[in-house]
Amino acid sequence: MTETAVRSDAAETAAPPAGPQPLTFAKALNTALADAMEADPSVIMFGEDVGPLGGVFRITDGLTARFGEERCFDTPLAESGIMGMAVGMAMNGMRPVVEMQFDAFAYPAFEQVVSHVAKMPNRTRGRVKLPLVIRIPYAGGIGGVEHHCDSSESYYAHTPGLTVLAPATVRDAYLMLRAAIRFPDPVVFLEPKKLYWSKETLDLAELRKEADDDAATGSAVGLAVVARSGTDATLIAYGPSVPTALAAAEAAASEGRSLEVIDVRSIVPFDDETVSASVRKTGRAVVIAEAPGFASVASEIVARVQERCFHSLAAPVRRVTGFDIPYPSPKLEHYFLPSVDRILDTVDELQWEDA
């Protein structure tokens, strides 16, 4: 695949030092996979180039060497085949994690996802569970050429039966992937490509302990979090748009406006409670997402906020989304993606004169 997409974390494969250390989003995912495979022999990983190469983004780096080619392996180049085989394996006692190499290359698997992954438990009155995870390197901002940067969450979120998660932080990359693999139902796990190389300083031992606690409480799926507290308006974002929203809030603060940022984390199920509580408090909201806005997850969030918070709203709920066009080529993508300026301009339009 695209050579530009390839970075190696080989230098980090040595035994990690104890205590807090810099961890990339990609390495957090890689560690989550390894820890899940270590904890549960039914967890297996497969897809295209995920074996010896370690995936085009190196998320499966070292897994074949460590767990053997029966547990982390390359498949023929066929996404429907990958997805359909995962369904069968999940029917028969495994917890498959599959990698769709890029968002826009996942479409051949769409029939399997919509007709079987999403429907099997319902079709069988819960007798056939499909505990599988579909990992999708997702969304834009990496200068990828055509078919490498789609924001496809709306297709999945619109399909009952799927759980759709989009982490935005290194910490969540680890905790949410562990939770997704433990989850009893199929999960579409959207990994924002532009965040793969973001870093946080984290203590892996504590993260692992937290994952175990999550396992006990089941709290890692379905909850939004307040990523930054504020009082004047709420920015609602997920995945790759969360850092942009946080940057916008930081810029607004310097202009004297206090913006709260909600990291949705879990697109399905959607945490109405956390989102509504924030908007009722601030009275204003802007939803931010990279996907084209028409008939999108962002539209759904606006509708839900409006239905639940109408009497608290001081201004219409607004959206900053991608335009309703195919994803642009690398030199044009910055015009398309939600930017700090576009977010701040939209915040400026939230009828402050009435305040």
């Binding site: 297996i44 029966e70 498949t75 023929p76 066929a78 429907s80 085949g81 997805m83 359909g84 085989m85 995962a86 369904v87 069968g88 394996m89 999940a90 029917m91 028969n92 006692g93 495994m94 498959p96 051949p108 029939e111 399997q112 007709s115 079987h116 429907k119 099997m120 438990p121 319902n122 079709r123 069988t124 009155r125 819960g126 007798r127 056939v128 569970k129 009952p160 039966g161 759980t163 009893p184 139902d185 379905g222 399905v268 199920p269 959607f270 945490d271 109405d272 409670e273």
Partner: protein, 390 residues
């Protein structure tokens, strides 16, 4: 490639090749072409006149085995007839009949062990019932109470697939998981001739071959995909010829010959169980009736075409053959007819009583735990229903 003769008796393809297409330079035994290509004509062991046809590679099942399968064949025909009647009476939404294909249906069910898996399609109701699933649970789908009425795990029988060929990949996954755990499971995956045009057919056969998993693919070539004849699906010499392209053996068989179906499928299953990998079997048969009751076959085929297949009926020839062996007499036939009638009565009685349908179930199985959105919607519907009832 070394050709091991230490393989099981069930290996009719000439070798126990773990992988194919490797090291073809060593000239010791059959070439890939020799053992992967199907027979020149569909394998037939009992002809339409009820006479045994000798075949060097496929032994004729013994009389008792054939008699037991014949009994299921007659019951299968009765199930098709009764289901058609229930549609006419408005007790079922639709029924895709396998009338004329019952030899394929019965063979698919009886060649499997209890812990093997069967992956049927919507037209394979008889196979699923023959496998032992409660007939009323099977017909839940077509009656319209729920999508699938039986527990796939209980009978190792997947839900009846309505999208074409998608289930073949699930079969590969089930077999792959079993293989990774070292289990001795074989998976039999069914599809029709039309489904061989789907991309998932290709991906399933390729995955099965590459991962060398124990799946037998049975294509029931009944010559029609709703209205479209086979010649518009494929111009391959036969559908079984597709196998060699994936590196697995293919065989074609007279799908209306119960004996040949049992022998050929049985050997493919044995071979898969012994580590021989996947195989593709094409059964030549004919869809004697409409696609479903909603179809009008007079628009695309003539009655005279259909009548050509009447003398090739799977029941007639087996009845003649077993009669000639003195395995069938009036008492045995009456016993079989009684059993068939009993199954029909079960279907009639079961489908004539209205099912207990609970609207709250709509929300119950979408997720293991209902989302807050589904809890709200379930409450909305419950409220509507309570006001209706008030």
């Amino acid at each position: 490639m070394s050709i091991s003769t230490g393989s099981s008796a069930g290996n009719q393809y000439g070798g126990s090749m773990k992988r194919t297409g490797q090291d073809r330079s060593i000239d010791v035994g059959p070439t890939a072409e020799e053992y992967m290509l199907p027979s020149a004509q569909p394998v037939q062991l009992v002809d339409p006149q009820g006479e045994h046809v000798h075949n060097d590679r496929y032994p004729l099942p013994d009389g008792d085995e054939l008699l037991a399968a014949y009994r299921k064949l007659v019951i299968g025909r009765r199930i098709n007839e009764q289901a058609n009647a229930l549609v006419r009476q408005g007790r079922m939404a639709v029924y895709p009949s396998s009338h004329g294909q019952e030899a394929c249906q019965v063979a698919a069910a009886v060649v499997l062990e209890k812990d093997d898996w069967l992956f049927p399609t919507y037209r394979d109701t008889v196979a699923v019932i023959t496998r032992g699933v409660d007939p009323l649970e099977v017909l839940t789908l077509l009656r319209g109470d729920w999508h699938s009425g039986y527990d796939p795990h209980e009978h190792k029988t997947a839900t009846q697939a309505t999208p074409l060929a998608t289930q073949l990949l699930h079969a590969v996954g089930v077999a792959h998981a079993a293989k990774l755990r070292g289990e001795n499971t074989v998976v039999l995956a069914l599809c029709g001739d039309g489904a061989t045009s789907e991309g998932d057919f290709h991906e399933a056969l390729n995955f099965a071959a590459v991962f060398h998993v124990p799946v037998v693919f049975l294509v029931q070539n009944n010559e029609y995909a709703i209205s479209v004849p086979l010649k518009h699906q494929s111009v391959a010499p036969s559908l079984a010829h597709k196998a060699i392209g994936y590196g697995m053996p293919g065989e074609r068989v007279d799908g209306n010959d119960l004996a040949a179906m049992l022998s050929v499928l049985g050997k493919a299953v044995d071979r898969a169980r012994d580590g021989g990998g996947p195989a593709l079997v094409e059964a030549h048969t004919y869809r004697m009736q409409a696609h479903t009751n909603a179809d009008d076959p007079s628009r695309y085929r003539s009655q005279s075409d259909v009548e050509k297949w009447v003398p090739r009926d799977p029941i007639t020839r087996m009845r003649t053959y077993l009669g000639n062996l003195n395995l069938l007499n009036a008492d045995v036939e009456r016993d079989i007819a009684d059993a068939a009638e009993q199954t029909a009565t079960t279907l009639r009685d079961g489908l004539n009583s209205d099912p207990d349908i609970n609207p709250a179930d709509l929300f119950e199985y979408v997720y293991t735990e209902k989302t807050s959105q589904l809890r709200e919607q379930a409450a909305l519907l419950a409220d509507e229903l309570s006001r209706e009832g008030a």
